[in-house]
């Protein structure tokens, strides 16, 4: 076969593969989002709660004497216009008129919220909105600048989350990887044994160490802030602000490092030890290939796919923030927004955050397929 024809066939095969893959990921995304929409709305229960809220707020109008008088006056005029003059009948007419006014108001407000159609149908509207990232407005929550648009709420908090948690995860990932690689070289030494015995530190989550960090460094030594992201007294100079934010990041970062690096180092050490006894690594040693090249070309290269997977999923995972760590350190991230949304049943916010997350995840899964093909020739072939 000519090389051009073979090339063409390869491209067609590749495109078909990408198509099938994207379609299946998309299907999973739609199904997942449908579930999220149903769960975030408590299967329609939220509707009843909102309706009760609307009814309550409409009823509140009558608590205001001037408003009540106005409405009663208007109803009286209507009833008189109908020619009802007898006192008993007039009072009944006014009550009826008031009730129907309330119902009309409730109906108008419900329609404004889109609650007039049954939930089973609305689920698909919600789903469509979520999938087109048309995230709408929050029911109760609003951003610090006062906007109730879900995008505004997310965008406001996202940089903070990325700043702290993506940084933390990146540091943790590379520390694990390189310390693990280094220890696999020093198998059996005192350093290796020490690292292995430190692994149980990771049996506690990051926020647990956060509590100690706050007690030690903020309350006892008084050298670092106990929480928050920036001190209110910091002057608006960008450099000073950046330094202050970094000061606030030290404790949460430190507590996450203590909690998550030891087990990761242990994991990668064992991982690399396993792969460094592969026959082709041994044979490279027999050939006198220098250790540094062996490490790079014979150990890291063949193991890149699982390492990259871990990295990408860690980075995506950091986007949601960390609920408990954020509240302990009073860090204004997305985690606390999500926690508040769940606590207050603010379904558009829940659906919004998760929709963005789902898209990031789906895109990464597809991107990973491409990356595997680049780093590992065995994946590229996919059968003749």
């Amino acid at each position: 076969m000519s090389s051009a024809a073979r090339r063409r066939r390869e491209i067609v095969r590749y495109l078909r593969f990408v198509g099938v893959r994207s379609a299946s990921v998309l299907a999973a995304l739609v199904l997942g989002m449908l579930l999220v929409v149903i769960i975030a709305n408590l299967g329609g229960k939220i509707d009843q709660i909102i309706e009760a809220d609307i009814r309550f707020s409409v009823g509140m109008v009558f608590q205001d004497p001037t408003m009540r008088k106005q409405i009663e006056e208007r109803c009286k005029q209507e009833c008189l216009a109908k020619g009802i003059e007898e006192e008993e009948a007039l009072r009944n007419c006014i009550e009826e008129c008031k009730t129907s006014w309330v119902e009309t108001q409730v109906e108008i407000l419900k329609r404004a919220r889109g609650l007039d159609k049954p939930f089973a149908i609305r689920v698909f509207y919600y789903l469509g909105d979520a999938l087109t990232l048309n995230l709408g407005r929050a029911i109760y929550m609003h951003s610090d600048t006062g906007s109730s648009r879900v995008w505004d709420i997310i965008i406001e908090r996202l940089p903070n989350t990325i700043l702290l948690f993506t940084t933390a995860n990146l540091i943790i990932f590379f520390a694990e990887l390189f310390l693990g690689l280094m220890l696999s070289r020093k198998y059996g030494t005192i350093l290796d044994k020490l690292a292995v015995s430190l692994a149980p530190l990771s049996s506690m989550p990051g926020w647990f160490y956060g509590l100690f960090m706050i007690i030690i460094f903020a309350f006892w030594l008084k050298i670092l802030p106990s929480g928050g992201m920036i001190s209110p007294e910091t002057p608006p100079d960008p450099l000073l602000r950046a330094l202050d934010i970094m000061r606030h990041m030290i404790l949460p970062l430190l507590s996450w490092l203590i909690a998550y690096v030891p087990i990761g180092v242990y994991y990668y050490r064992t991982f690399f030890l396993m792969f460094s006894t592969e026959e082709y690594v041994e044979y490279a040693r027999a050939r006198g290939i220098p250790p540094r090249i062996i490490e790079r070309r014979y150990i890291l290269r063949p193991t890149l796919p699982p390492i990259i997977t871990t990295l990408v999923l860690t980075l995506i995972g950091s986007w949601m923030g960390a609920i408990i760590t954020e509240s302990i350190f009073r860090w204004p991230g997305l985690g606390s927004v999500l926690a508040e949304a769940i606590a207050r049943n603010d379904s558009p916010v829940i659906v919004g955050i998760i929709a963005v997350y789902a898209y990031l995840l789906a895109i990464s899964v597809i991107a990973l397929d491409f990356i595997y093909g680049i780093v590992d020739p065995r994946v590229r072939v996919g059968g003749e």
Partner: protein, 316 residues
Amino acid sequence: MLRVENLRMYYRTMSGLVRAVEDVNFRLREGETIALIGESGCGKTSLARAVIRFLPRNVAELSGSVVIDGIETIGMSDKDFDSKIRWRKITYVSQAAISSLNPVIRVVDHMIEPLVIHFKVPKTDAIERAKEIIKRVGIPEDFLWRYPFELSGGMRQRVVIAISLITNPKIVILDEPTSALDVMTQANILNMLKELRSKINLSYIFITHDIAVSSELADKVAVMYAGWIVELGPAEKVYVDPLHPYSKGLLGSVPRLRSDVPVTFIPGTPPSLINPPKGCRFRPRCRYAMPKCEEIPPVIKTGSEEYVRCWLYGEK
């Protein structure tokens, strides 16, 4: 070319010292092939690894003398060994050649590595040399750009042999190079090895448990048992008329086509190398064992470069 004298290698393990190679002597001339034969675990691979200094971490003792092309290598620093001996004078074809290639780099990258690393040859020249060598082992040039998993087992074996030839060594250690291959591929590889030897005057140390295969190539045969060379001699002599009782048993266990001679076997199992039997290590399985065998048998010269380690041939 290669002179091994009183070579000894012990491993340290949890259960004690493993005497994997003990008091081994042999010589190898230019263009000559020595076959190391014996059962699994008799120390053949350990011997080879001691010669090319490809040692596990738990080596407890490595002593004696290994002279390669006039240079004494025991006692040499690892750095000197790497820069003067390894892959320059002597190369190694590993036991599991089929899985000895890195799955994510191309054949050509494997081949040029020794040249680029040990000889600092520019990459383009190294690739030219790789093209030349790969043709010599019977693989088309364009296979250089393939990945190992795109080659058959026999081809991978040829590639590993090509890697061991690329730096023009004097000695190639072949550690069971054909045992994982089917008979046809085996025959092909053996023919190729023969051809290479006559063309470029290579010396082989050929390690195998397959006596039929070893008889194809060997000029000399060393029969190993429990870390010792129990008999060393010219191929035609050892194959036809072995002296040591173990050699007799080993050669008797080779099936012969259309012959009335029954296939024999040696009862018992090879001894533990942690706690070898007192005296002759073959004594517990030997038909001819006698009281004298409780003493370590001497090396008895039976020719200029032949010996046997057995009391049967002792004068006393």
